[in-house]
């Protein structure tokens, strides 16, 4: 456990300068309770920025259990969500208020 913790700290210090760099930005539109695009490809090991534009008149909660973010976005407004850095893999995100239609995937590679 101690070793794990030390590794964690070492990793943190090591990866810290990455945050100072440019953050890649991705735009997602919510319209009729659907995401466009509903698939995003992003680089691994780097913090990314999602700009979610809710064009519906109703509020939505942008959420992901996989990359662990949740943010309420009022109707007709935009929100910025910083994600990661993430390990390579497939990350599901969804609109919690419209679980049937608002679904998307973030591919980190």
């Amino acid at each position: 456990m101690k070793k794990l913790f030390l590794t964690a700290v070492a990793f943190g210090l090591f990866s810290a300068p990455v945050f100072a760099g440019e953050v890649p930005e991705y735009n997602i539109v919510i319209k009729d309770h659907k995401f466009t695009p509903d698939e995003i490809r992003a680089p691994a090991g780097q913090k990314i920025k999602l700009v979610v534009d809710n064009q519906d008149p109703t509020p939505e909660e942008f959420e992901s259990d996989d990359f662990r973010r949740e943010k309420i976005i009022a109707g007709n407004s935009k929100a910025t969500i910083f994600v990661g850095p993430l390990e390579p893999g497939k990350y599901h995100f969804f609109g919690e208020f419209n679980l049937d239609s608002a679904n998307g995937t973030l591919y980190v590679e």
């Binding site: 700290v9 990866s15 109703t58 259990d65 662990r68 973010r69 309420i72 407004s77």
Partner: protein, 277 residues
């Protein structure tokens, strides 16, 4: 059929579990029903206010106002819960011994019990605001008749209440003899989980570095979005992919509150010591 029921249930579980443990932890505390109901009322009012100001909160502080706000709610809750646990250790035991009269005397001069109101209100704020916004969205979209939305909300709310009640009754039955110790430790672990969640919001806001992006990944074994995952998230702070910073916050709160709880003396069991209080 009733999308409202699912959402309301999902959101209300957190509040229900917190209330369940707090009620079990405060058995014998006079007026606890009033305190918890007061907290719930305040929480519901707060939810409506927060829901109304969602957009302003979001746009504040360079667009990360919502994350900062959520983190603040979490950390204040961590403070209140820690205080509750420590306060219960020093005052709680005499209440457990059915010396209700003495208990009431102690309580009259001690405003600390109002922290309970804060604990419940804070647990209600965030999820409550989500329910308000979701319901507003449902009503505004006009896709479902109002009766269905209301019925769905009631079903979801009752479902959540049943879960909370089950936890409360279960604790009273299973941990009868060591109710204080068991519920205190449950609250300590729950508090540590809240501190980790608060840290995650600060990471999302860019205020804290993650230290390590993903210390382990148990999402294949237990997803964070499943019912069990969500329940364990509230109870023990379960998260399938914790960052290093969350583990630091979790351990820090677990250790500090845990050590204080262990070290400080409870009220002695002799009636003389109680009278001296």
């Amino acid at each position: 059929m009733f999308p409202t029921a699912t959402i309301v249930f999902r959101e209300i579980i957190e509040v229900a579990l917190v209330i369940g443990i707090v009620m079990a932890a405060t058995v014998g505390l006079p007026g606890r029903f009033k305190l918890v109901l007061g907290g719930l009322g305040l929480g519901v009012l707060g939810s409506v206010v927060i829901a109304f100001f969602t957009d302003s909160i979001s746009q504040a502080i360079d667009g990360v106002g919502q994350e900062i706000f959520n983190a603040a709610v979490m950390f204040v809750a961590v403070g209140f819960l820690s205080w509750t646990v420590i306060w219960m250790k020093t005052h709680g035991r005499q209440l457990a011994q059915n010396i209700k009269a003495v208990g009431a005397d102690v309580m009259r001069g001690d405003r600390s019990v109002y922290v309970l109101v804060g604990v419940i209100a804070l647990a209600t704020f965030r999820e409550g605001a989500e329910i308000v916004l979701f319901t507003y969205g449902m009503l505004a979209s006009g896709a479902f008749p109002i009766s269905e939305i209301v019925l769905g909300g009631v079903i979801g709310g009752l479902g959540g209440a049943v879960i909370g009640l089950m936890l409360y009754m279960g604790l009273l039955r299973a941990a009868q003899k060591h109710l204080f110790t068991v519920t205190s430790w449950m609250l300590i672990v729950l508090t540590a989980g809240m501190a980790a969640q608060g840290a995650n919001f600060l990471i999302a806001a860019g205020v804290l570095p993650p230290l390590h992006p993903q210390v382990w990944d148990t999402s294949a074994i237990l997803s964070g979005g499943s019912f069990l995952g969500e329940t364990l998230k509230v109870l023990v702070g379960y998260t399938p992919r914790p960052t290093g910073m969350e583990l630091v916050f979790y351990s820090a709160v677990l250790l500090s509150v845990g050590v204080i709880y262990k070290v400080i003396g409870g009220v002695k069991k002799q009636p003389s010591a109680v009278a001296a209080e």
